[in-house]
């Protein structure tokens, strides 16, 4: 179940994704929050920063800086986390992940749940539409971002 806080942070993740799209990048955004408090927000930096590890989730975690613990946080992401980001969620001990959509990309939800992460899928139509447009317009960039070669 999405709370009002969840909806608010998912919207910021979408806005980050949209900003990335408008920059010519991969349109995936993320927010790290501690309860009602936004800790950090970020977006995929492959194009903008030439940085292959800066998926949206990773960029948000980087911008959060050093944290004593993640056990009281929720990670919001506009798109279902890849294996890099899923591994990071497990390693960092993030207990709850709210995913805007997993229709255009997904597959690691069960891996996360199997390691004790609470996973919520929002089926957000704006995020689905944005990723669908991106994948249609820039299939090579998308393939590069998920290392499908």
């Amino acid at each position: 179940m999405l709370t009002e806080t969840d909806k608010r942070f998912l919207r910021i993740a979408y806005e980050e994704a949209l900003a990335g799209f408008n920059e010519g990048g991969c349109p995936i955004g993320s927010v790290l929050a501690r309860g009602d408090t936004l800790v950090s927000q970020g977006r995929n930096q492959r194009v903008q920063g030439g940085d292959p590890i800066a998926h949206g989730e990773m960029d948000a975690l980087r911008k959060a800086g050093r944290q004593k613990t993640y056990r009281d946080t929720t990670l919001y992401t506009s798109l279902s986390p890849c294996m890099m980001c899923s591994g990071t969620i497990i390693q960092f001990g993030i207990p709850r992940v709210v995913i805007a959509e997993n229709q255009t990309f997904g597959g690691n939800e069960r891996f996360l749940e199997g390691r004790g992460v609470k996973v919520i899928i929002a089926d957000d139509p704006d995020c689905i539409a944005l990723m669908t447009r991106f994948i249609e317009e820039k299939p090579e960039l998308w393939a590069e971002d998920i290392a499908e070669d």
Copy 2:
């Protein structure tokens, strides 16, 4: 079996780790190579850059920049990869990982092998000694780096 090339790149990973130790950081270094060619080298940047996602492996992958493929690469690391770095190895499709040691930290080797990665452990005494000293001297920093709270 370690090749001469493996030994050379493992030594660079160790030198990166040692440089990190001397900077007051977490002493873990990594090299990305394509055959005999070094693509990039890096080291943990938690302390130096305030960056929690920049484990040694991640720093090397970031410094490598955008790559068309990783399927012809080997990742060298002075310490067995955590779940973040292991997930990244899978996502990026890196087929071979040479680990200097997994005595002071480890546990994801089987996860990697189960997903088709060739894993080689070198049992490097210099890397073991460096991590052992670090964990003894800075247990709190080490706990933070692997999110053990």
